[in-house]
Amino acid sequence: MKWGVVTFPGSNDDRDSVYCLERVLGQEAISLWHKDRDLHGVEAIVLPGGFSYGDYLRCGAVARFSPVMSSVMAFARAGGPVLGMCNGFQILCESGLLPGALVRNRSLSFICEWVAVRVETTRTRFTARCAAGECLSLPIKHGEGCYVADEATLKALQDNEQIVFRYVNQAGEALESANPNGAVQNIAGVTNTSGNVVGLMPHPEHAVEALLGGEDGRKLFRSAFG
């Protein structure tokens, strides 16, 4: 499968994502430049983590207007698989491809740690190979990962099975004590109504090698292989 990983100025995990896809998972992966509208025939797109355009004003606010994003939006609307991780998730929300928004962590500080997330639905392009209710160990590293949405949106997310991941404790329970950033209902990731666009705050691309702490992240990418 041919993957495209977008590089915005200020993206940080773009190289790690290419490495993960190419060297660890044996996929074809190219990097897509923010100024380039041409998607070069990729079959899946990754919006990586980092601080696109410095994340000034709001995380992801500026990136959504970059030339490549108009192509990404068209690709997504046509049903192409798009995975946004951390800053990528923020960009997807800012661009309206995913509902809701991400705001400052409740603690007001940046948090880097490994967390457990529970797979809430397997009906997405990036969780098809997970088991529903399965817990994955993934790292988070963000200052603005607190997911918020209004009541109506939350209800719709619930009704349409659009909540993809929740932060949970070791026992798999989505308790407040297992919530690292204050996200509403412990939400760590969501999808659009058709399940082809997934955004999450954790970093599956940093959980693909046992040497570096775990391999659970592989499942997300593998799900997209079809």
């Binding site: 200020g10 940080n12 190289r15 980092g50 601080f51 410095g54 940046f110 880097c112 590293k141 040497l211």
Partner: protein, 739 residues
């Protein structure tokens, strides 16, 4: 343009002495212009000229078979095989961080990153070494939060993982905190760039952020003199950084370096445009002329004096090959960065600048560099040191509750978990972090091979205050030991020598002693010093900081899979103490925290024994014999055992041990004898490890085994490890919020 007249008084205001001013007049054969005075004042400042330290720094061993670049460039370089080099340096940003902790620390991180990528290396790991005043001091929490926030704010955004560091609290830093930042990068050995200006007629190109009025005289007036009640006036010297620009500057510079377009490149650090161009000209034995009218500015009305001295961040100076200007500009344009030709390399050996068609600076480059003043300042042993080195243990009551002592040690801010700090840092970006913060050394894998690099920063300044020679030697030894117990072979170090006012003989003595102690340890452990930084004038109202020669050591692992972490893993593993415990409580955390005494001499260091310990650890790690290994440092054996039980990122495990020996129990449990490590080993591997210990004549004792849920030291204590971990983990955050 009417220039400001220069006289001796103005020279004094610039931090120059009468002698120095006269020397300037002699060198030039005339009075300097106002701009020239500014240039001399920064280039001859302690911070840029190393005038008090230069001749002593020569005593440090700086060469070795793997050393490709020792001190003198932007960073040191070590050959790590497979055509790759490790490029690294540590640097201080103390004064700015005290004035504005967030931006001071952030720009410190930015500066050290530039020192590394300017050599062609992609930065892959940062560490930091921090010293704050007493945690109860009213300013401390604000400073800690600001500094940690700034390091994270900048480092995370730039996309370089912060993988380790150290944090200590001591009232000696109440008026002067220390922020030392370290970065390690990787470069191909055949593509290393140096900061040199050569080739007459080659263009000098300015890239990065525009110049503003920030940080004028940061080097000369902020970093090269003491704090006093006037220091508040220096506030405009504070700089604000832009990590986003740094991030793209890294990418742009590294992509520039893929092509054959440039001769040399240097970041504009302290003393900005002046020192970068002068230093490049000096290394290339050339001259440089700059047209200041072409320097990109952020606001109108900036004077040439300000342009020369501004320390605006995220700027680089490049000497390109003639005719390659447009190609260079194209590379930066890809990243929407500006590149402007502002001057050229000349043959006259002069640093010249023009402004509105007039030459306003004309100084021989050598007068600003090799011919700058150098002093052999008087040194004398502090008169009260002998008294401070005394400690009367017989007058010291033995504790009645050893468990309580251990708990209070583990909750002092110095020994408490630093998780509150490092969880604010992205330690994963880059995808190479094998051992994340929380173990003795950080370990980074190299994607290009099976190798790994280990890094540790260390300095016990209480030891250094009570015996700077021994304290500095221990800093080197401990850093190396942290690597060795992790399975990493120490290779080279970068040092950051933080001291008080060198014009005081006692401070100078501390400095020279520390250099000699470092030298002895480096020689014994076969480690070279490849880069470093001296920060003097860490004094407020005449009160100097404890001498703090911070050591950042880098080592190599041939197979990164053999890395060792400090926490116990398997119930049933044997626990073995390598090394010996003596009755050494002098300068210990125990004396300071429990008895409020900072006195006595630091523990003895037998460098030959140390070397053997480290070799054994390396061989055992390579043979896969260790389940865990942890060096014994502050807080002694009991603290090291406790840490091995509770420092695993997710779980705790218990132990049952018996300590023998006829030492005072508090010395046995909490003394800080050197050259020790606590290791755990599977019973099946014990014979092999034992044989190794015998052949290397290293004393050892089997203490007990891993298992259960309590930390049990027979006859002294039994504590539930889960509860202990909870207290240890939350202590720092609690004290910072309730202080």
């Amino acid at each position: 343009m009417a220039s400001i007249p220069v006289d001796l008084q103005l020279a004094h205001d610039h931090g120059l002495s009468t002698d120095e001013y006269e020397r300037i007049v002699r060198t030039l054969g005339r009075s300097p212009t106002f701009e020239e005075l500014g240039v001399f004042s920064v280039m001859w400042s302690e911070h840029c000229s190393y005038k008090s330290s230069r001749r002593f720094l020569r005593r440090l061993p700086t060469t070795g078979p793997a050393i490709l670049q020792g001190p003198g460039e932007n960073a040191g370089i070590v050959d790590i095989g497979d055509g790759l080099a490790a490029v690294f340096k540590i640097e201080s940003h103390n004064h700015p961080s005290f004035i504005e902790p967030y931006h001071g620390a952030a720009t410190g991180v930015g500066g050290i990153l530039r020192d590394v990528f300017t050599m062609g290396a992609r930065p892959i790991a940062s560490l930091n070494s921090l010293r704050f005043g007493a945690i109860e001091h009213p300013r401390t929490p604000h400073l800690v939060k600001g500094v940690v926030g700034g390091i994270g704010g900048y480092g995370n955004s730039v996309g370089v993982p912060t993988v380790g560091g150290e944090v200590y609290f001591n009232p000696g830093y109440n008026g002067n905190i220390l922020v030392n930042a370290f970065t390690l990068g990787i470069a191909p050995t055949d593509r290393i760039f140096r900061a040199t200006a050569a080739g007459v007629g080659n263009p000098v190109i300015y890239v990065g952020s525009r110049t503003g009025r920030d940080g004028i005289h940061g080097a000369s007036l902020l970093a090269s003199r003491e704090f006093d009640d006037k220091s508040e006036d220096l506030r405009p010297a504070v700089q604000v950084g832009d990590p986003f620009i740094e991030n793209i500057l890294i990418e742009a510079c590294l992509s520039l370096m893929q092509q054959d377009l440039i001769i040399g490149i240097q970041d504009m650090g302290a003393a900005g445009l002046t020192s970068s161009s002068v230093e490049m000209a000096d290394r290339g034995k050339a001259g440089i002329v700059l047209d200041l009218d072409t320097v990109p500015t952020r606001e109108t009305g900036i004077t040439p004096y300000e342009l020369l001295l501004s320390e605006s961040q995220e700027r680089m100076l490049i000497v390109a090959k003639e005719g390659c200007e447009e190609a260079v500009k194209d590379v930066f344009a890809t990243w929407d960065l500006q590149a402007v030709v502002i001057g050229e390399v000349t043959a006259d050996g002069l640093f010249r600048t023009t402004w509105r068609g007039e030459e306003i600076v004309r100084i021989p480059v050598s007068a600003l560099t090799s011919q700058a003043p150098a002093y052999e300042r008087p040194a004398s042993r502090p008169a009260d040191l002998t008294a401070k080195q005394q400690v009367d243990l017989s007058a010291l009551p033995l504790p009645t509750d050893y468990a309580a002592v251990l708990t209070s040690l583990l909750t002092t801010p110095n020994l408490a978990s630093k998780e509150w700090v490092y969880r604010q840092y992205d330690f994963l970006v880059g995808g190479n972090t094998v051992v994340q913060p929380g173990s003795d050394a950080a370990i980074i894998r190299l994607k290009e091979s099976n190798k790994g690099l280990g890094i540790s920063v260390d300095c016990n300044s209480r030891y250094c205050a009570l015996d700077p020679y021994r304290g500095a030697a221990i800093a080197v030894a401990e850093s190396a030991r942290n690597l060795a117990v992790s399975g990493v072979r120490p290779v080279a170090l970068s040092d950051c020598l933080n001291f008080g006012n060198p014009e005081k003989p006692e401070v100078m003595w501390q400095f020279v002693q520390a250099i000699d102690g470092m030298r002895a340890a480096c020689q014994a452990l076969e480690v070279a010093v490849v880069s470093g930084n001296v920060s003097f004038y860490n004094e407020t109202d005449g009160q100097a900081i404890p001498p703090t020669p911070t050591v950042a050591m880098v080592g190599i692992m041939d197979a990164v899979t053999h890395h060792v972490t400090q926490w116990f893993k398997h119930p049933g593993d044997l626990i073995v103490l390598l090394g010996e415990t003596h009755e050494e409580l002098g300068a210990s955390e125990y004396l300071a925290a429990l008895h409020h005494q900072e006195c006595g001499r630091p523990p003895r260091l037998d460098l030959e024994r140390e070397k053997r310990l480290q070799q054994v650890c390396l061989r055992a790690a390579q043979a896969g014999l260790f389940s865990s290994a942890h060096d014994v440092a502050e807080g002694g054996l009991a603290v090291a055992l406790a840490e091995a039980c509770i420092s695993h990122p997710r779980q705790t495990v218990g132990v049952r041990v018996t300590l023998t020996g006829d030492l005072r129990p508090d010395a046995l449990l909490f003394g800080e004898s050197q050259s020790r490590a606590i290791v755990s080993v599977r019973p099946a591997d014990w014979d092999q490890l034992k044989a190794l210990l015998h052949t290397s004549r290293l004393p050892f004792s089997v203490l007990g085994e891993v298992g259960g849920t309590d930390l049990e030291i027979a006859g002294y204590m039994k504590i539930a490890t889960a509860a202990l971990r909870q207290q240890w983990q939350t202590a720092l955050a609690q004290q910072l919020t309730h202080a």
